[in-house]
Symmetry: C2
Subunit: 350 residues, 2 copies
């Protein structure tokens, strides 16, 4: 007797890295960034109904492995993500990720996906969506300090969502800048390679800092930052890792995803626990003020929150309704009679 | 240009439900139960070095979704598991599960697997391994109260690991008993279908209770339990779900996996917070006494702990070294240059 085929319920759609890349091309990267930003903004608008369980971190000498779950009461999502700074020396990714979406009603998984690429996209989409609410009107030039794996996604998201036309790039490693310039060639952005952070910031209304060192670094000092800019600070995202001098924070109106998490992981870990911040979802829903004047410095201290991953999983689930770029994984044991798991096993004996 | 093939590092071995069933048959179910019991016992012997993070539960009106992570400092494992009692009414499993093993050193996943079947096996292997340490010498007859999805696995584990020869079955639903009798036919066990729990317990030195109702039930009352038996109580495994009358607990020496969890989920949730229990790993390592006399009632209040899943994942990883019963999942984005995720994406454009 042959093994019976698993039922429809036993299958979980899985998006591999290869299919994710194809899906991004099929969709168009800018369209996907815009779509993700819409889903993220929708979820920020209903922020209060989410289960905001803290991430579960397992720390070791080499790095950290985290599970980031959340739920809106209908869907449940979690992301597995590691952070191992030493990995690059061994030809591995510092950060890799995968994620899962499940039905709260049945507990059955409904989507499994790579999330290394998807996280880069949702991070860029979040940054640009936030900047749309905070950046000065008519901002067209962005400084990009740090030209690593996230930089091209950030540049394209700001182009697609905020109308940025010029990106001025700087990295302590000129090879990284060269790589980003090459990758962004043909994007329609005007690109300028700069030999200092100061030079990159000249004339920029938006400053994105996205460097990778796991240490307290001072990528920007106070005297470098002029009035009225928007700073998108996404590199300081774990304890012990910051990019900005505290004096910049003191001069800025600081916006965060979730204060409980950002005070541990973000730039504001350098500040006292009562340092004033505004939750960005309150700006989006009109419950709090965003930019208050043309000369104010606004600063998004972005660390990445589980709800953004949830939005990305929701986007992907909906996107797959009109795409075949997934495999069906036989992941759920589904006996005809739920009490007869053993019978299912025995009938599978060929 | 074709999409470049993912490198070896990008692949994660995945064991589907179909391959798990084949692997169980390839290995032999009793051999696999015995192998799992050995891995679980090894890990109980080094209990203290494990990271015992509490499980992360997301509760809803319909059920619960849990993530159960743990680590021994070298490997990291977690299980996703749901519990939705109403699922059976819709032809779905009450409990489904999958799990992942990763390297602590790199954070990279090394194994993804279905765990609905694997959990049934590890639960049975744990019960029998614990009984090997606690049951009266020469026990050959087991009562099996509750003949649902777990029962056959329990019966076979006790046969393989403890030398049980006779199983006396009872369930409030005679159809469940009939199903278990049919499934265990040809196992070499002497089987007796009984029409009451009392009848099933007659002459039994080991009593396994494994019923499914999510409520405070009294499957066993005090007068039913004679001196010297070992009770393997695995059905009381979440808040609000117990099977035994508290008087039985008072008369017994109670052994648990992890008191912090069992006091919330196990039979002892009925007892005061200082009710004395012994951690089973201490019995296994010789740091605490197990059975103290031939007339003592020993009781294992088993709720299932993350370390048992970790042992099962370790067992499976090692077992796959000599089996091809897995697929390679392209789950990890692995650019040649870790800083060039975008370049990898662009080169994949066909």
């Amino acid at each position: 007797m042959n093994a019976p085929l698993p039922s429809r319920l036993a299958y979980v759609p899985f998006v591999s890295v290869e299919n994710m890349m194809k899906l991004i091309h099929e969709t168009g990267l800018r369209e996907m960034l815009t779509g993700l930003a819409d889903y993220i903004e929708q979820d920020f608008r209903r922020w209060e109904l989410f289960d905001k369980t803290p991430r579960v971190a397992s720390h070791s000498a080499e790095g950290v492995i985290e599970l980031m779950p959340t739920s809106d009461g209908e869907d449940y999502g979690f992301k597995y993500v590691n952070g191992h700074p030493k990995n690059t020396r061994e030809g591995l990714q510092t950060v890799t990720a995968f994620g899962l979406l499940a039905s709260v009603g049945s507990g059955y998984p409904v989507l499994l996906t790579e999330m290394t690429l998807l996280t880069a996209l949702r991070t860029a989409a979040t940054s640009a969506m936030v900047a749309k609410h905070l950046a000065p009107r008519g901002a067209r030039t962005m400084a990009m300090i740090g030209n690593g794996a996230q930089s091209e996604f950030q540049a394209l998201a700001f182009q697609a969502i905020c109308g940025v036309e010029t990106v001025q790039l700087y990295d302590i490693d000129p090879a990284a800048t060269k790589k980003a310039m090459r990758n962004l060639h043909g994007s329609g952005l005007v690109l300028r390679a700069c030999d200092s952070a100061q030079a990159a910031m000249e004339g920029a209304e938006i400053i994105t800092t996205c460097t990778a060192d796991k240490q307290y670094a001072t990528i920007l000092t106070d005297n470098m930052v002029g009035a009225g800019v928007h700073i998108n600070a996404i590199g300081g995202d774990c304890p012990g890792k910051t990019e900005l001098h505290p004096d910049i924070l003191k001069r800025s109106a600081v916006f965060v995803e979730y204060p409980e998490q950002t005070r541990i992981e973000g730039e504001i870990q350098q500040m006292p626990p009562d340092f004033p911040v505004t939750e960005i979802w309150k700006v989006i829903t009109g419950q709090a003020r965003g930019r208050s004047s043309a000369t104010e410095i606004t600063l998004f201290d972005g660390v990445g929150f589980a709800i953004e991953d949830f939005s990305a999983l929701r986007y992907l689930r909906d996107r797959l309704k009109t795409s075949r770029l997934y495999q069906q994984l036989d992941m759920i044991a589904d006996p005809d009679d739920p009490r007869d798991l053993y019978g299912m096993l025995m009938r599978a004996a060929g």
